[in-house]
Subunit: 327 residues, 2 copies
């Protein structure tokens, strides 16, 4: 029997700045301990004050180093910072990957910093929900700034980024003729573009390419955020160059959102994305439900033998899942 | 009124090598023209012979150049090659992005090559299905090799890669201390690892890091593909260095799959992934259904105002979608 945690007590202690309770609350949600569903409304209604910042970009752009540098800068300004890092590779045996996480550990003894690495690989549909819940907990616990770091390619990642009020896309020079933000379909979701490792010889080309494409986008798309000029900011995260300016840009974007009324429309968009994400997860869980499992295996056999196409199989499966639920 | 195409005629002509019919068939499926559902079983039952090769990696790794070089090599061997390139950015105004696609156009007049670029951005859930259908068409039309090129990070991309029999992960040296394949959670899905731009000074480090991590993985994980030693292959796609070896490795992997009986188990895994992908898409469509729309908007308002948490909202929404279907 899994013991239900005392959800209210955990939340109350987390809100008092008790980091172990914060960590336990996130873990309890992730593990879906008993009482989770009753606890969620309280967690969500307690939140809504945090500035949620999404930081994304291709692997190798130096996102973790950038986040570590930003945390240091925000600490210098006296702000408490929570970090949720989504690491799709972290169930792998280890060591090597965690190298860049270790830099974050310089904050391990600072009660003004909380870093949570979400291990997600292999948990179907778990990525979005656990991450969104972790952000909700930090928000509810009163962390004024929550940074979400993800590898930003693919629909799942774009969905996660949608929970942020301010999104920074990190590129790195030196990958030849590709503009990573564009290749990854991320140009449009960036409120701020950061070109990290800006001491590389081809940094200026990356910056001017990004500026050029942002101008093109402004000409061809009518964006509701038209009055926010998306900045392209060079940084060298390793030595801190440009970090102060990025932190200023985050604050300026937050002010812009509040002043323009866009904060409210983004809150609606965020709510819609959250509902969709969870609904998707719940539906996938239902498909994978062992009580429907027999049907699923038969359908797989039929498709593998090409007696059936995947779409007809999927329609049959959904029918079965719905029937099961109604029984 | 949308006119239904003559699906059977299109498939018959596609199977005779008529490229315009192949293109029209893929477009008709993507646009979901009338009769699509009745046409799918015929398309799927005609397939099953193609060697489907997935090529993935972070933006900037030079995947498109590599694919172009591989196509040239396979043409030299007398093989017809179909390419499906998933480009999440391709609805953007254009020009710049398509630069690397143009290199593919050197094959534009060769009837032994067909290149299809899938524009996907903005079509919720459209990525997987349209791509899977395009591969199915090329398979049904008798293309012996079908290469699927995607930006490989995120669950959607991993799903697409699951439709391939042979998967190559492309890395590039020079991104510092990150091993991209690991960071992106892709180490495990690769049958072949390619280190492109291998003339860069730090190529050897990238290769040895990959080999080291593949060894670790072998020690810690009991993989069913244990008798296939995953190679790490250096290439310089721009000048063709190493391309012949990669093409040989593709053929060797295909032979290994057939000889070991793994081809059959992968076909089951592929079938399962296809059914799941389509089921996910269908379920999301149902959630977004305008007949359930009013409920959705109300739920979004409640979550945005924090009167409701996203999970309770999602459960309510799914209930509504199921009810609507049953009416």
């Amino acid at each position: 029997v899994t013991v239900a945690p005392d959800w209210k007590d955990l939340l109350a202690r987390a809100a008092q700045g008790h980091i172990a309770s914060t960590a336990r609350l996130i873990s309890a949600l992730e593990a879906r301990l008993p009482g989770r569903e009753d606890a969620l409304p309280g967690i969500y209604s307690a939140g809504g004050q945090a500035h949620v910042i999404g930081i994304t970009g291709a692997p190798g752009a130096g996102k973790s180093t950038l986040v570590a540098a930003l945390v240091m800068e925000l600490r210098r300004r006296g702000q408490r910072v929570g970090v949720v890092a989504v690491d799709p590779s972290s169930t792998l045996s280890g060591g090597a990957i965690l190298g860049d996480r270790i830099r974050m550990q310089q904050h391990a003894l600072d009660p003004g910093v909380y870093v949570r690495s979400m291990s997600t690989r292999g948990t179907l549909g778990g990525l979005s929900r656990a991450t969104v819940d972790a952000v909700a907990v930090l928000d509810a616990a009163g962390w004024p700034v929550v940074i979400v770091e993800t590898i930003g390619v693919g629909q799942d990642e774009v969905d996660i980024i949608r929970i942020a009020q301010t999104t920074a896309i990190v590129s790195v020079p030196g990958l030849g003729d590709d503009i990573q933000a564009i290749k990854a379909g991320l140009l449009e979701v960036g409120d701020i573009h950061v070109v990290n490792k800006a001491d590389r010889p081809d940094a200026n080309k990356t910056i001017s390419d990004l500026l050029h494409n942002l101008t093109l986008r402004r000409q061809f798309h009518d964006t509701s955020a038209a009055d926010w000029a998306v900045p392209v900011m060079p940084t060298i995260a390793l030595d801190g160059t440009g970090i102060r300016e990025v932190a200023d840009a985050f604050a300026a974007h937050r002010e812009h959102l509040a002043a323009s009324g866009e904060l409210r429309s983004r809150e609606r968009a965020t709510a819609a994305a959250r509902i969709r994400n969870v609904a998707k997860d719940l539906l996938i869980e239902r498909i994978e439900d062992p009580t429907v499992g027999a049907a699923f295996e038969e359908l797989v056999d039929a498709v593998a033998a090409r007696r059936l196409d995947p779409e007809t199989a999927a329609r049959t499966l959904i029918g079965a899942a719905v029937e099961t639920r109604r029984r």
